[in-house]
Amino acid sequence: MPVITIKPPTGWEAIDFKELRQYKDLFYFLVLRDIKVLYAQTILGFSWAIFNPAIQIIVFTVIFGKIAKLPTDGIPYFLFSTVAIIPWTYISDAMTKSSQSLVSEQSMLGKVYFPRMIYPLTPLLSKLVDFSISLLLLVGVLIYYKVAPTWNMLLLPGFVLYMVLIPAGIGLWLSSLAVRFRDVKFAMAFIIRMLIYTAPVLYSASSISPEYRLLYSLNPIVGVMEGFRACLLGGAIPWEFIVPGMVTAVVMVLTGAMYFRRMERVIVDVI
């Protein structure tokens, strides 16, 4: 017989994976809800998942490729940016949605209990659907530029996982912070704008001078962008750009989960 003990929270608590597993059906339906609701009553439906990044790629190609002529290691700018914009779109969308998840679901939060961690984790999965659809665009561009697949391609799933860790870490941290301080919502727009310039989304990481390389690579987005480029376009995998960011991402997810567990008890009282 299940026994639930209700008592005042004390100190840090581990993640209750057993409990999370009990709620896997709910997790599934919440993801499904996000997907169905997102494009409800639109004409283009899921095509938006392709149009959005496509328009962004075109704008960036014109501004940064044609006018500003940013360095791309000799890769055509359109191809260069497509490979980065698609994971970038996922990261920024999932990050925004996840960090607002508790605030936007506050009516549910006060009426029913299930592991709170489901709230920030749901957008990570539902946005993966958009990401998968936008991969079609990526494949189209790769074919157009006649890029031959290399063995590097096999590492792509690993980099997708790495990509998911970034909004996971940020979402866990910021969703619980956003409950207490609504400033997060306003800061998010700013953070996203900063991140796109501090990561090699629009330019090549090789243009960073070697003395700053380690510091630069601590930004996990650098690793994801460089990893995606190496996987899809071939060439040596620049581990020196990838590994430091991986460490950051893992640290962020772990500390984020701990912080979330600590904050989740007061969420309902403070929201």
Binding site: I4, K7, F29, R180
Partner: protein
Amino acid sequence: MSTDDFAITAEGLSKIYRIGLKEQVHENFASMVMGFIRSPLQNFRKYRSLYQFDDVTDGESTAAEAQAGIIWALRDISFAIKRGEVVGFIGRNGAGKSTLLKLLTRITPPTRGQAEIRGSVASLLEVGTGFHRELTGRENIYLNGTILGMSKREVVSKFDEIVEFSGVERFLDTPVKRYSSGMAVRLAFAVAAHLDPEILIIDEVLAVGDAAFQKKCISKMQDVRKQGRTVLFVSHNMPAIAMLCTRAILLSGGKMTMDGTPHDVISRYLNSDAGTPSMREWPDAALAPGRDVARLRSIRVVSQDGRTATSVDIKEPVGIEMAFDVIKPGYKLLPHYYFYNEEGEVVFASLDQDTEWSERPYPTGRFVATAWIPGNFLTAGMLLVTATIITRSPDSLQFDEAQIVAFSVRDNMGPGTARGEWSGQMPGTVRPLLKWSTKYFPETRERDDLRRVRS
């Protein structure tokens, strides 16, 4: 008795909130600018303080706590509920009922104390939690079902029953936003009604839907009770509590004030002091409300036998008696009462129509005027009374004592009541027992049949 016989045990549950964080008021521009510069830090401290209670002691509330906006929403609640008990929680708004349910359903943790729940539990604090307008009825059944704690397999197995109970078969694949509000509520309740836990925690969900639907809900609750489940139930609907529950717990001001049979607890609840007394007196004439002509000296609620009453049975008459002194003779006076319900609406007003005094100037001396409200006229609940006297020609207000006494009307059912054997909701600001007559015409059908045959 082993611990397994108890479904829920609670020991010393308390919940503290900190409210009333004041916004700072600035007196001049300079302090406003300084305040603006300092505000991020202050805001940080303010929001942080919302959930830190290390400074709050276990003893009685101190003045310092009150100053800091500390509220004990619940204080030292202990109980043990056996398997199969249906327990009703009763109390006025703000008594802590909903907070208690939120603790037991793990929505928010207690500040002190602990509770244990043995067995699978489902809670229903709101009908239709997580319903999404853009999703179809079918999708919402799955989503809402899993939110309430069912597994996908359970929802699948009960799907047809849920749909049948809700009566929205035809619109199953229509987005819920196109539903009427009644349909949406029925669908939501249908999902909730098919929860199958050992322990069910419910908050005032019977307050939705029309009368027919409420009846369906009550009978569903009776089924649950017959199956021997443990149910915790918060409601303001006293007949429902009396009918469904085997035990009732009264909360007031965050504390548990009574635990007993529904009948005893309900009558204590209805008799309990709601803040307004059923009698007021002004022994010192100088302090009595009034002006140059008349002064109010006492007012009270009286029952049929002339005793001061805090509550009356819905079947019985109740009187409002005011004693006033006339200190200046020669004026015609008009005493009257206003009756307000708990929602603050005026239920009715009553003017003194005693023919003996209505056209006559009052001499000096003490007068006692009583207005009798017949039995089977008021609806159940609190009534607050405002007493006023004006002089006629010239009209001048002598006193107007707003809501100075109150009494409650106890609901009752059975022969001689307007409710009769009906146990569902009885809406309305009054509940008169009307004379009904039903005539029977046994020949009508035959005559109609004959006519049809002839033509």
